[in-house]
């Protein structure tokens, strides 16, 4: 379990690097001559190539190499960054992603086509600045192979010969590590080399020479020439001098250096590589950070949950035994620590939504290109933090909503001009925290939702009767019905009417809600309200018969008394009148077949999801309860009424009611009632 699969680790990491490169490219589209961005993109490509080769993704390495070379030219001011070039590299990104995900051997033709375009983009661009004088350029290399390199079939001389093909070389052997003759193992390579390589050689070409031995060897590449040059601009455009290496730019130089020179077995060294590499590379951006598998955090969360439960038992004990003051104070101390620990662990799982929002810029960019619209995406509140599992499950619904906004919402430029709007459509994605919830809104300034069309469609689907009066909100919620789409034409992006219902279901499974506002001609706003975490909810603890249950507090509207007379009167009809509306109710005691007598003071808990309300008759309301949600065992997965379980202060178990299921049940009952009436 704890052993991480190096290839999987590489995929995760490569995915992140690709994302960074993509962000860099998109930014670069606006600021074509930003050298920092160019460098960042180059470093990302370089990392991909290097680590791709390290983990056996040869197709990726060789493909990326070409993109890297292209960007290297940009970086050295040999070629200007052009929108065409950026577009080609963006499309190359998708190809790289495919190569990372699969073996990609059959995609060779696709890759070649992209490379051809890349070459065209490079050739088409005029060379603005002359190349720096070649005599100025060169590299100083210091290399040392692991002692058993020769046993593994590596011939250092061929490596040196290969270096010589790159340019004029001066090779000096370093013999200080060669032991006395008595201690010398003839098959060990104890000699190191210093090489001075003159000429305009790309660093990547030098590294290519060592591509197969890079993991184990000690290689330092230092630039001579431009580093000595006083021209500040030239220096900025040139590869970073080794004196201030960026770990991502030279993984080959940093990682092996941290390994001790003699390695008994090269395998363990390889196995450690993926674990060490992400930390090293993630570090410069995010400060000190550690990458931890999510399962370990879950495990930690479980342990903390147990601790909190045991602690509450201890504090019950301390309070009941009136005697011991010392026990009392210890118990209080532990209580404080446990609650702090829980808060700390909760925070560990939180991830800023920026990780999610970043992906959408590309999405909007592509949609704008495919549809011929001009769309700008702006985001704010990226620092809002949400539980990691929530983030992961939000991605698909958000993609769909943004597609909808771009495809259905924002109009074509000519329509926009005719409507007196700016040519560029605007989609705004924002996140903010409100209490225990995060609110994500997607706002577009398109033509809004046409109520008449929605109504016509709903009527044709038989969702509402022609003369039926429905509120505006109810009408807008119609778009979440399965198979409902008002787009006149079906495009590749959206309009097939699949998705909005899936969006709604996903959001509801996250215990969230979805609201739509729309002004015809001015645009629509979709707001998602989602709890910050799935691990803990505020719940209402209730008793039904002998069992205790938790109702998520977020859906509880109110609690009212069900007096004995009323209970008897409502025998024939299971609904009550609440503020001029009929609310059906379910007697949980009957539903759960408790076989107990009803309590004298029964209560009705009114729960609501969206516009539907249902009352739940319970025996007693115990109070609110901070609920750590535990999943039900797989053997209970066919019991739909419960969303999970939680452990109470006394160590007992309370089941958490699945409100959506209960409401569905209540509706079913209501329909039966109507049919009878």
């Amino acid at each position: 379990m704890s052993e991480t699969d190096p290839v999987a680790a590489f995929r995760v990491e490569a995915g992140e690097v690709l994302e960074q490169v993509e962000q860099g490219l998109l930014d670069l589209g606006h600021r074509l001559d930003d050298h920092d961005l160019i460098d960042a993109v180059f470093r990302g490509l370089h990392t991909l190539k290097g680590s791709g080769a390290m983990f056996g993704f040869d197709a990726l390495a060789s493909f990326t190499h070409h993109c890297e070379t292209a960007f290297d030219r940009v970086r050295k001011n040999l070629t200007p960054a052009t929108p065409q070039l950026i577009a080609v590299i963006l499309s190359a990104q998708d190809h790289m992603r495919a190569l990372i995900d699969g073996d990609g051997t059959e995609r060779k033709a696709e890759g070649d086509a992209i490379l051809a375009k890349l070459q065209a983009a490079l050739d088409g661009a005029p060379a603005p600045t002359p190349a720096p004088a070649p005599a100025e350029q060169g590299w100083r290399l210091s290399l040392r192979l692991p002692p058993e390199a020769m046993q593994n079939g590596i011939n250092p001389l061929t490596l040196l010969d290969e270096l010589r093909t790159l340019g004029d070389c001066r090779v000096v052997a370093r013999t200080e590590q060669v032991p006395l003759l008595g201690d010398l193992v003839p098959t060990h390579c104890m000699i190191g080399w210093d090489v001075e390589l003159r000429g305009a050689v790309a660093k990547a070409d030098i590294e290519d020479v060592f591509i197969f031995v890079m993991d184990d060897m000690d290689l330092q590449i230092e630039q001579i020439g431009p580093a000595l040059c006083d021209d500040a601009r030239n220096a900025a455009a040139a590869p970073a001098p080794f004196a201030s290496p960026s770990p991502s730019a030279s993984p080959s130089a940093t990682t092996p250096a941290s390994l001790p020179a003699p390695i008994d077995d090269s395998r363990p060294a390889n196995a450690q590589e993926p674990a060490a590499a992400p930390n090293g590379r993630g570090a410069p951006k995010t400060g000190e950070s550690v990458r931890v598998p999510a399962e370990r955090l879950d495990l930690l969360m479980d342990r903390v949950g147990e601790l909190v439960i045991v602690q509450s038992r201890l504090s019950q004990l301390a309070h009941s035994s009136a005697a011991d003051v010392a026990l009392h104070s210890i118990s209080e101390e532990i209580e404080r620590l446990a609650s702090e620990l829980r808060d700390t662990v909760m925070v560990l799982r939180m991830v800023p939504v920026a990780t999610l929002f970043g992906r959408f810029r590309r999405l909007v960019h592509d949609i704008a290109r495919d549809t011929g619209k001009t769309i700008e995406l702006s985001t704010d509140g990226e620092t809002t933090e949400v539980d990691k599992t929530v983030i992961e499950r939000l991605a698909d619904p958000l993609i769909h909503l943004i597609r909808n906004a771009c495809d259905h919402g924002v109009e074509h430029p000519e329509q926009r001009l005719a409507a007196g709007k700016p040519v560029a459509g605007h989609v705004r994605l924002s996140a903010r925290q409100e209490g225990g919830e995060v609110v994500i809104t997607i706002r577009d300034d398109g033509h809004g939702i046409d109520r008449d069309r929605v109504r016509a469609k709903a009527e044709s689907h038989g969702l509402i009767q022609p003369a039926q009066v429905v509120s505006d909100q109810e009408l807008l919620q119609m778009i979440f019905h399965p198979g409902f789409s008002t787009a006149p034409q079906i495009t590749s992006l959206s309009g097939r009417g699949v998705g909005m219902d899936v969006v709604k279901r996903t959001i509801e499974s996250l215990r969230g809600t979805i609201d739509v506002e729309s002004v015809l001609g001015q645009g629509s706003t979709v707001s998602l309200r989602i709890p910050l975490t799935l691990a803990i909810i505020d719940g209402l603890l209730i008793r039904v018969g002998d069992g205790r249950y938790v109702i998520p507090l977020g859906v509880v509207e109110e609690c009212i008394e069900l007096s004995l007379e009323e209970d008897l009167r409502s025998r024939g009809r299971s609904f009550i009148t609440l503020r001029d509306r009929l609310v059906p109710f379910v007697r949980l005691r009957e539903m759960f077949v408790t076989g107990t007598k009803p309590s004298v003071h029964q209560k009705i808990v009114i729960i609501a999801t969206g516009t539907e309300r249902v009352g739940l008759v319970v025996d007693q309301i115990i109070g609110s309860h901070q609920t750590v949600i535990k999943p039900m065992s797989p053997v209970h997965c066919n019991v739909p009424t419960f969303a999970g379980a939680t452990i109470l202060g006394d160590g007992g178990v309370a089941l958490i009611l699945d409100v959506v299921q209960l409401v569905a049940l209540g509706q079913h009952q209501e329909e039966r009632l109507r049919a009878v009436a």
Binding site: P631, S633, V639, T641, V653
Partner: protein
Amino acid sequence: MTMEETSQTEWDEDGWLEVLTFDLQTEKFAVEAVLVREILDLLPETVVPGADRLVASVANFRGKIIPIADLRLAFGLPFADSTMDSRIVVVELDVDGVQTQIGIRTDKVHEVTTLHRDASEPPPTVGLRWRRDYIRELVRTPQGVIVLANLARIFDPLLGGRGTTPVLAPALL
């Protein structure tokens, strides 16, 4: 049926199998010792309304919610109140790669012992009140016959084969 292959242990080369033996009413049962995680005193249980009667309740086992199974139902044995000897045997089954813990209510736990293949027989086709596929082997010992239960098969309808196989033969319920 992947579950069966992974969680059932076979007789070793010499024909031995390590098991934990326990009583359900008057019958002596055994489960493979490698599946057993822990033996506990009875836990406070919470009834799950609507759940299958075989696993009608859950309990808090070290902060995890585990189902408590009553195998007496699977073998059509009469109910009886728990006694001082009643214990819960926590077993761990592999369900599609996920380790799932289940507590089994027993009337008495005996010992970890080894059974030999030569003393075992497949369940007979006649003279058996129980579903044959719930039994791996019947093993003769000096103290009487031990029923080596096929846990994977008993829980399979609840875990994987939902809706396809009847959970229990109606006659047994």
